[in-house]
């Protein structure tokens, strides 16, 4: 299977993106900000279509707009922790703008006026990644991993108890912004692999399962990345073996399975995240 170049590219990009999604996702779940990631993944859709409609490389719009909106959501909320209503309102509008660009784009390229471009951005096309693009995707994902590991200790402190963290001199607001920017980059990255609509699964399910398995934060942090990477490998393999199954589905199914199974185990004592409630 790994003899095919397209499978090598898929494994290279997929592994790095899954690693980044597992690590960033842990903090998303811990901070109860998965909705923010949901919104940002749709921003990725709008950004990519805006760039396509303007005739530039989709990745320019993808990364530019997601990071911009991520930081903007931080500014609109106290302590750079976006509120449900702010996310929802901005989100609905950004989606509408995405529809606008979709109609502009399909009007320009009336040749493929069936919305195929939009569907590709939404659901991803991991088997269509070129070698150079896979390498670039992997590099960016590894940088995201490095950064999130670097800030993991203060970010954990700030996420669990922001008041005490601030009293200890942790720059809570700045960390909030940095984290939002990292989520934006991850969403843009992952939309190239599994598609804008499905990133959410890689960001939410592995950390959800990891948190049910252990209540120790740093162990769960690593475990979440491990589950995400293994799901990616299994998903790619299944999709290769059974061609009718789209890779996006098999990856997401592989990621949801541990979450479902750990649901039967019950929760490990009282988790640290309970303190936020």
């Amino acid at each position: 299977m790994l003899m095919h170049p397209f499978m090598q590219h898929a494994y290279l990009a997929g592994t790095a993106v899954a690693l980044a999604a597992g690590l960033v996702g842990y903090f998303l779940v811990l901070r109860a900000q998965v909705f923010t990631a949901d919104a940002l993944s749709h921003v990725a859709f709008t950004g990519a279509l805006a760039a396509l409609a303007a005739g530039v490389d989709a990745r320019v719009g993808l990364f530019g707009l997601t990071v911009l909106v991520a930081v903007a959501m931080g500014f609109l909320s106290p302590r750079a922790r976006p509120d449900d209503v702010v996310v929802g309102g901005l989100f609905a509008w950004i989606l509408g703008v995405g529809v606008f660009f979709l109609s502009v784009f399909t009007a320009i390229r009336s040749g493929n006026g069936n919305g195929a471009a939009g569907v590709n951005v939404l659901f991803g096309s991991i088997f269509g990644i070129s070698g150079r693009r896979a390498l670039a995707t992997a590099l960016i994902a590894l940088i995201v991993c490095g950064l999130i590991v670097l800030v993991s200790r203060p970010l954990l402190f700030a996420s669990l108890d922001s008041d005490v963290a601030r009293a200890h001199g942790v720059p809570v607001r700045l960390l909030g912004f940095a984290f939002l920017a990292l989520v934006g980059v991850t969403a843009a990255e992952a939309s190239q692999v599994v598609g804008a609509l499905l990133i959410l699964g890689l960001l939410a399910a592995p950390p959800g399962a990891a948190m049910r398995l252990t209540s120790r934060p740093l162990v769960a942090f690593g475990l979440s990345a491990l589950i995400a990477v293994v799901s990616m490998w299994v998903g790619l393999w299944v999709s290769y073996a059974v061609p009718v199954v789209p890779p996006s589905f098999s990856i997401l199914a592989a990621a949801s399975l541990p979450y479902l199974l750990t649901g039967f185990l019950g929760r490990p004592r009282e988790t640290l995240s309970g303190q936020r409630a």
Binding site: L28, V29, L30, R31, A32, Q33, V34, F35, A37, D38, D84, V85, V87, G88, G89, L90, F91, A92, W93, L95, G96, V97, V99, F100, L102, S103, V104, N114, G115, A116, G118, V119, F123, L197, L198, I199, L200, G201, L202, L203, A204, A205, P207, G208, M211, V244, V245, P246, S248, F249, L252, A253, S256, Y259, R267, T271, S273, G274, R276, A277
Partner: protein, 295 residues
């Protein structure tokens, strides 16, 4: 498409002479009444994420129904209601936000991935995929308008029954539970109402438009007034205004209704938030105009 003249009455008469525009206004009005009311509770309960998920899971439902050769409507309903039960299935009394966040996210992503699988199994229907997700108000039949009105009436009757305890439970769940309100049952009941609304409205207008109308008018109304009855009424007024203005503008422009509707809704939201912020600033600068508490 007619051409726009500055005589608004004449414009509206011309627009409504087309049956499809008339149906769009009828359907839009029904949606603009029911979605802001259900959404008002959704925003109050901070469940926008669940609302968005319920609006999206109709897509795999429709895709599955198309693959199996069943009616699309049945697929929409079955999947939305099933998703509502799964999301309500977290341990009773657990108030852990992060747990809920992960659960809702996983449900949504898995449902959409399953939708992708059904589309692939049934040989692909890309045009319909875009229509299912983004929808439009144009091309609605008289039968669909009737269906929308019936669902709207049922949802409003249910909400009229559970509205008061639901408001209580949403504002302060602990106190409500202490007073004997069945907060767990209310939470499940509300998710089911949300699911029914999202499914029925979504299959006619698309997931995007439902979500926009569920979130934007209530968020604007709650920013304007803290009193439940006032902001609930405001929410409906803003919803109607948004739908009518955007249908009117969309009729005379090249761009889709979804874009106009979200833009008008978001514009009103931003204007309201800034207006409230400016008003608060002015009050701070001129304390003399603020009501002085009498001792």
């Amino acid at each position: 498409m007619g051409s726009f003249s500055w005589n608004l009455v004449l414009d509206i008469q011309e627009m409504w002479s087309l049956p499809f525009m008339l149906n769009a206004f009828r359907a839009g009005t029904a949606v603009a009444i029911v979605a802001p009311i259900v959404g008002w509770f959704m925003v109050l309960r901070r469940q926008s994420f669940a609302g968005h998920t319920l609006a999206m899971v109709g897509f795999p439902g429709a895709a599955a129904a198309a693959w199996l050769g069943l009616g699309l409507g049945a697929g929409y309903f079955a999947f939305s209601i099933a998703a509502a039960f799964v999301m309500a299935g977290r341990p009773a009394g657990s108030t852990v936000h992060s747990e809920e966040s992960a659960l809702v996210g996983t449900v949504q992503a898995f449902a959409l991935a399953a939708g992708m699988l059904f589309v692939s199994l049934s040989g692909g229907f890309l045009n319909e995929t875009t229509a299912l997700l983004f929808g439009s108000f144009l091309g609605i039949t008289a039968g669909q308008v009737m269906a929308l009105v019936i669902v709207a009436v049922v949802v409003l009757v249910v909400l009229a029954f559970i509205g008061r305890p639901l408001l209580f439970a949403s504002v302060d769940a602990d106190v409500a539970r202490a007073h004997g309100a069945p907060t767990g049952a209310l939470a499940v009941g509300f998710l089911l109402v949300l699911a029914a609304t999202a499914a029925e409205v979504g299959q006619i207008t698309g997931a995007l438009l439902v979500f926009a109308l569920l979130v934007l008018p209530p968020a604007t109304a709650q920013a304007l007034s803290p009193r439940p009855a006032v902001s609930l009424a405001l929410s409906v007024v803003i919803g109607l205004l948004t739908v009518w203005v955007s249908l009117f503008v969309a009729y005379y422009s090249l761009y889709p209704v979804g874009f106009w509707l979200t833009t008008v809704g978001f514009g009103i939201y931003v204007a309201a938030r800034s207006g409230v912020a400016v008003a608060a600033r002015v009050r701070d600068l001129h304390p003399a105009t603020a009501p002085v508490p009498t001792c």
